[in-house]
């Protein structure tokens, strides 16, 4: 039964962690809106979620370690590959953060995160009413 509950919530769990990851990336963009030569980053949420559900890590190839003294490389940047945002208006200092885009994406991502939370709550409520049988 535990694995069935797991299966029930697995998708939302993946989606929620990806949303949290993206929230962090977008916060980094907003924080660096005045940093010279900073390039705005983002993740492709749809493909990242597809990969996460299929059980693939988004980071691609990692180096095999045959000794404990080897330094790990490759994987470890996060659950999804970081892409660069397309630039609409060039800035003199080489910064590509567009504050309007970042703010709206941040707000949108926050709403989707809350939606994910309420989906999980709804599923749990369904389970509870099934268990109680009232």
């Amino acid at each position: 039964m535990a694995s069935k509950i797991d299966n029930l919530l697995a998708f939302h769990h993946q989606a929620l962690s990806l949303r949290a990851h993206r929230q962090q990336v977008l916060a980094g963009n907003i924080a660096n809106s005045d940093t010279p030569n900073y390039k705005a980053r983002d993740i492709d949420f749809a493909s990242a979620l597809k990969n996460a559900v299929a059980g693939r890590s988004g980071e691609g190839v990692a180096l095999a370690r045959t000794s404990d003294r080897h330094i790990s490389a490759g994987a470890g940047g996060g659950p999804a590959p970081l892409l660069y945002r397309k630039e609409t208006q060039a800035s003199v200092d080489g910064n590509t953060v567009n504050m309007d885009v970042e703010r709206s994406q941040f707000a949108e991502n926050a709403i989707f995160y809350e939606a994910g939370v309420s989906f999980i709550s709804g599923k749990l409520k369904t389970l509870m009413s099934a268990v109680q049988g009232q």
Binding site: A20, Q24, G28, A31, S33, V117
Partner: protein
């Protein structure tokens, strides 16, 4: 939990922006300081931002790399009665540009507000997450 990292990122931006606001305040206060501690006219100070990896390298916070002094020449004002006037009667005044400083101040305070907003959103999301299943 990557939503906690949003606090670190937005916090780093708040620190950086308040350092910038500090520099603006110092420049505006010393716009007419003929002599600093070293006997030379005050030079405008500008902060330089730099993106810095924060929490696993996925997202980047911001920090103040250095505070540089404006290299532009001092403003020469004709005032032969001043004790610091040179042989031609000119006094070297600070190279502070009040218009630039005001623009800097508004930009810094807007960025500060935005990052405080980001923190608030992250707080809301975390509280929602704590309420899962209630």
């Amino acid at each position: 939990m990557s939503v906690f990292n949003v606090f670190h990122i937005a916090g780093s931006a708040l620190t950086a922006q308040s350092a910038r606001l500090n520099a603006v305040a110092s420049n505006m206060a010393n716009a007419d300081s003929v002599a600093g501690p070293d006997g030379k006219p005050y030079r405008a100070k500008q902060v330089v931002f730099e993106a810095t990896a924060m929490g696993g390298g996925a997202a980047q916070g911001v920090r103040v790399r250095q505070v540089v002094e404006d290299a532009s020449p001092p403003r020469m004002v004709y005032d032969p009665r001043s004790p610091s006037a040179d042989a031609q009667g000119y006094v070297a005044m600070p190279n502070v540009n009040p218009v630039e400083e005001m623009v800097n101040m508004i930009s810094a305070s807007r960025s500060y507000q935005t990052n405080a907003d980001v923190m608030n959103t992250a707080k809301t999301l975390l509280l929602r997450t704590l309420q899962i299943g209630q």
